[in-house]
């Protein structure tokens, strides 16, 4: 292995991100901690699954990885070099996003063909992007006959395929997918996942894959990081993470997965009715207010990451599985 193979394709080092939010006319603005001391490494060719509660900071982390949002603390590296140090054109050639919301992420005044070919115009001026654009649309299962359509004429799933085609056309090394298949039916989802698998093998694509669909993450990821309220609470290779989760939040998450078998009752998460509160964090473990196992020690001081075999878990009670 060459030296380059030991440099992560993408690395977040102790990243923190805070938003100031107004709480009404007469109150002082509060600080909302969206990311807290988040460290992640993705090696070349690896796929990292990123899962966690809605609002836990996944999309914020994605925006930080893409250099679209500057972290308030910590640093971000792309191929060993700080993300801000890359010239823009170089950066977008290396790392491309597929965003969560296929409605707002596509410019409504551009036709599908132009949207998809756009990244090529930036790099390869002069050559006709048409053939590659059509090939890419076809590969993601988008009807090429609609290349002249505007986003408003497309269904949610069709728009998401356009977003994926656009991200892949310039053959980036790192692909950051934020919920790329949530708008797709399961058959098109299978096509898109198969496409990502193919491209990963063919181009050695490095991927960060954010999803609420745990079965998809389990199918695609090599390693999985679980987040709760802006922090990483568990990380492990995919097999042990799903087979023997250590953190109680990971367990609750896996326990709430719906299976496609009729007649099963809705799962009980065991987390109570309180919700994660990003505006008021206690001094201790962020999950303690909802944790069925929490004790006084958990509430008193921040809980560091501990290694348990192949798992890293931020929990005082994460004993052997």
């Amino acid at each position: 292995m060459t030296r380059a193979n030991h440099v992560p394709a993408l690395e977040l080092e102790h990243v923190g991100k805070h938003f100031r939010v107004l709480q009404g006319m007469f109150r002082r603005p509060a600080t909302l901690t969206a990311l807290n001391d988040l460290s992640l490494q993705v090696m070349p060719g690896e796929t990292l699954g990123l899962v966690g509660e809605s609002g836990c900071g996944k999309s914020t982390a994605v925006n930080v990885m893409l250099g679209l949002l500057a972290p308030d603390e910590g640093r971000v590296f792309l191929d060993g070099r700080e993300i801000g140090a890359w010239p823009l054109a170089e950066r977008v050639r290396r790392i491309q996003p597929v965003f969560q919301d296929p409605y707002s992420s596509l410019n409504p005044t551009r036709r599908v063909g132009e949207l998809v070919a756009q990244p090529l115009r930036l790099h390869e001026r002069g050559t006709d992007p048409g053939p590659r654009m059509r090939e890419m649309l076809d590969r993601v299962g988008f009807p090429v006959r609609l290349a002249d359509a505007y986003p408003a004429e497309l269904s949610g799933g069709q728009r998401q395929r356009v977003a994926i085609a656009r991200a892949l056309i310039a053959r980036p090394k790192v692909l950051i997918c934020d919920e790329p298949t949530s708008a797709l039916d399961v058959s098109v989802q299978a096509q898109v996942i198969n496409l990502l698998l193919e491209l990963r093998a063919e181009l050695g694509l490095t991927m960060v894959f954010v999803s609420h669909n745990l079965a998809v993450v389990e199918h695609l990821a090599d390693r999985v990081a679980v987040m709760y309220l802006g922090e990483k609470v568990e990380e492990a290779p995919v097999a042990p993470l799903f087979a023997a989760p250590r953190h109680p939040y990971t367990r609750a998450l896996l326990g709430a997965t719906l299976r496609p078998e009729p007649g099963a009752a809705l799962p009980e998460s065991g987390l109570g009715t309180a919700s994660a509160d990003p505006l008021h964090r206690g001094p201790g473990c962020a999950f303690a207010p909802r944790c069925p196992m929490a004790n006084d020690a958990c509430r008193k001081a921040p809980v560091p990451m501990h290694r348990h075999g192949q798992h890293l878990a931020r929990c005082l009670c994460a004993g052997p599985a």
Partner: protein, 325 residues
Amino acid sequence: MTLLDLQDLHVAIPTERGLLRAVRGVDLRLAAGETLCLVGESGCGKSLTAMTLMGLGPKTAQTRSGRFTLLGQEMAGRGRAAWKTLRGRGLSMIFQDPMTSLNPTLTVGRQLTEGVIHTEGLTRRAAEARAIALLERVGIARAGQRLGQYPHQFSGGQRQRLMIAMALMSEPKFLIADEPTTALDVTIQAQILSLLAGLQRDLGLGLLLITHDLGVVAAIADRVAVMYAGRIVEEGSASRIFRRPAHPYTAGLMAAIPVPGRTPRGTPLPAIPGRVPGLIEPIAGCAFCERCARGETLCAARPPSDVALPDGRVECHFPAVEIVQ
């Protein structure tokens, strides 16, 4: 009580490439307290059908139908104004596109309360109290403090929950939910589904749920309608459709669900080969025929007729059922 009785809905949209026959004869029926899940290929016309039910289809669309009653009122052939009295007064929708219902320039508190202040004459305080209670039930902490924020300050899933709360503000009898939980993690999804199930039990809410998540369908559907290329190709009880899908498209969908342990990790998932047909040229036979393993010459030539099933129907020349006489 029948909340919806729709027969033979057609929606066609003029496009630069010709007239797009996006919805081609859809029948839907829903009773109070019932959950009907509408599933199907991306682009098959689910949202268009739902928007038409709300009186919000594209302005240029050509719409016609047979019988069309909504909350007891005849709607066939009536103009957009007829829906004004139903929306916010019994009929409500969670939109797939957040921008349809969330205005980026107004605080979420304002957006949540505006409707009921107008239709029910609630005071701002009473409306805000209702909004806060609902936001807490959809899992948004310190809702009172977040009413003054704007939509972009919420995460994707939080925005989706704002829309759910907004749709429930008017205490609807009939809720159309278009992909309401796609941006939610599974624990919050379960919380939302129990909230909806509770409303059905307590208030007889009728739910038309459009979703790609067959786990959600399995958990809450009474009946399932499977749509393909603008038509409902199969309809039946949830328990039967999952165990014995009659239409080859339904069977293909079921097979494509990633189930851990069924397909080895990192290997291709079974997807239905091929593409949906364009709906500008008329289709002579079965719209699924080119992608179908059971396809025969007959299928390309003649549209499949309706086959009655004990719990519903299927339209296919060669359904995987013993045909009931």
